[in-house]
């Protein structure tokens, strides 16, 4: 809902969410698949250096999403396999 208001105000916005199908249904524009509800932007169960790579990949995917033109809710998937 917040992302939709930001969109309306003219700010490009990307939402990182583990519940990406819910974000799609609500109508968020750019959606980045996050890891898990309690930790969307990383995975504390991974070794620190792998987690750092994962975090970087998620943030870079979000930045790429921000620069993309979209017409409908679009999901962007980080390249690194996101742990279940």
């Amino acid at each position: 809902m917040i992302t939709k208001e930001l969109d309306r105000a003219g700010f490009p916005v990307a939402l990182i969410s583990a519940m990406y199908p819910v974000a799609e249904q609500v109508g968020a524009s750019r959606i980045v698949k996050g890891v898990s509800i309690p930790h969307p932007c990383g995975d504390p169960s991974l070794p620190a250096e792998i987690d750092a790579q994962l975090r970087q990949e998620i943030v870079e995917t979000a930045l790429k999403a921000l620069q993309s033109e979209v017409k409908a809710p679009t999901v962007f998937l980080p390249h690194m396999a996101v742990s279940a």
Partner: protein, 434 residues
């Protein structure tokens, strides 16, 4: 598995000096019950009060509500794994005191200060709009109030409260041993009519795996990250399911609801008439990744398919993202050719015009609403306050402002009223389209 449930209706409770039951009147030895409870030294003070429908009474600090039951024949005892060993239940004969409940209320300040695990209690009005909102206001209530010693952890406080309420409930039901019940209902699924559809009941069950008590227990064991499992409906009636008594919230069914599950009873009463009741799947929900939600939905539908279900009645408990698991379950069942109907409460906001549900799937084409959880409610001032708190917090966070429990209250959701959300469709609400 055959269970006979012998019913002893209660219309009046008197606090006296002996235990007696005759023509709907229950006399209770209050001193004996207090002494029973005070054997646990973690309870500093205990007292009993009776509340009846229509009285301008507000009960505070409620942690659970339970119907008195006792097993008089068959294996095990009521509340297995909690009051006694883990022995299978659901067979034999059980006595129940219907129309009444033990309402346990406790003063307890938790050690968890924020988040989902923070302790909460609920209120109950026995009259007016608050009474209309809760299924428990129509019962005669024996309120057991407790004051716990300082510094107990959440799990310990829970254990103390639960042991006290269940012991009292069982002791009350024992008054009926040897007496003739008003009626007996038999629960037995062995006879089936092959031509009727096999209808399964799927109980989605939000549990909080990070918390010391996950919220729902089976034979005393809190359910955590479990895959779906099959249970027998008779186990509900003998108290195999219980709750976390430090977190009483309107949208979490409590022990009384599990004992008197309206959908389990409804399916049982149609068994052999319109359908064959094919049993119960207990589905843990609120997985924290979308993949987890897809897996549990798939797992549940697979199990339903293995059980030969033609149709499934699906419901849930809790709030938030757990509903995604529920909708995916409906979808997974439908895709396997199992017709589903979903029973759920709605959100909808203060005016009822916001989105009613968090998530949708096109396969959910038969949804029964049990009413809105979000509608604001105004409660008039009470004439009397029962229970441990004379001042209450409307919001649960630490340092939240307190209000007089006696005064008028405006609640922005039904969460604070015990039974304030009708998860499983116990009440006879009707809907109207505008």
């Amino acid at each position: 598995m055959r269970l006979e449930m012998a019913e002893f209706p209660v219309t009046d409770i008197r606090l006296g000096s002996a235990f007696r039951y005759y023509s709907g009147k229950l006399e209770v030895d209050g001193e004996e019950l207090k002494n029973l409870v005070l054997q646990d030294k973690r309870i500093e003070e205990a007292w009993l009060e009776v509340v009846v429908s229509g009285e301008k009474v507000r009960v505070t600090g409620i942690r659970d509500v339970v119907e008195p039951r006792v097993k008089v024949d068959g294996k095990g005892q009521v509340f297995p794994g909690i009051l006694g060993p883990v022995a299978p239940v659901g067979e034999g004969r059980t006595h129940r005191l219907s129309g009444m409940a033990v309402v346990v209320a406790a003063e307890y300040e938790g050690t968890i200060r924020a988040g989902l695990g923070v302790q909460r209690s609920a209120i109950l009005d026995m009259w007016g709009p608050g009474a209309e909102a809760s299924r428990f206001s129509s019962l005669v209530g024996l309120v057991l109030s407790l004051r716990l010693v300082q510094g107990l952890s959440e799990l310990e406080a829970h254990t103390v409260i639960q042991q006290a309420e269940f012991q009292v409930a069982k002791r009350l039901a024992e008054v009926t041993v040897g007496l003739k019940p008003k009626r007996v209902e038999t629960f037995d699924l062995t006879k089936v009519k092959p031509k009727l559809p096999r209808v399964l009941f799927i109980q989605g069950c939000l549990t909080d795996s990070h918390h010391v008590h996950s919220g729902v227990s089976y034979y005393g064991l809190p359910i955590r990250d479990s895959l779906a499992t099959v249970v027998h409906p008779n186990e509900f009636f003998d108290g195999a399911f219980a709750i976390n008594t430090t977190r009483c919230i309107g949208y979490f069914p409590i022990t009384w609801d599990w004992q008197n599950h309206p959908l389990v009873l409804g399916l049982y009463r149609e068994h052999g008439k319109r359908l064959n009741f094919a049993g119960v799947i207990l589905e843990r929900i609120r997985f924290e990744t979308f993949q987890g939600k897809e897996v549990i939905a798939q797992n549940t539908a697979q199990l339903a398919s293995n059980l030969g279900a033609d149709a499934a009645l699906v419901t849930w408990l809790g709030s938030g993202n757990a509903f995604v698991d529920v909708m995916l379950t409906v979808q997974a069942c439908e895709r396997r050719g199992i017709k589903t109907a979903l029973v759920t409460y709605e959100y909808g906001g203060k005016e009822g015009i916001d989105s009613p549900l968090l998530y949708y799937v096109p396969e959910a084409d038969a949804v029964v609403s049990t009413g809105s959880r979000d509608r604001w409610i105004d409660l008039p001032p009470a004439e009397k306050v029962v229970g441990p708190y004379k001042e209450i917090k409307i919001l649960s966070y630490p340092g939240a402002p307190v209000a007089s429990a006696r005064g008028s209250l405006t609640l922005d959701a039904r969460d604070m009223i015990v039974g304030g959300v009708d998860n499983w469709g116990r009440q006879s609400w009707a809907c109207r389209a505008y």
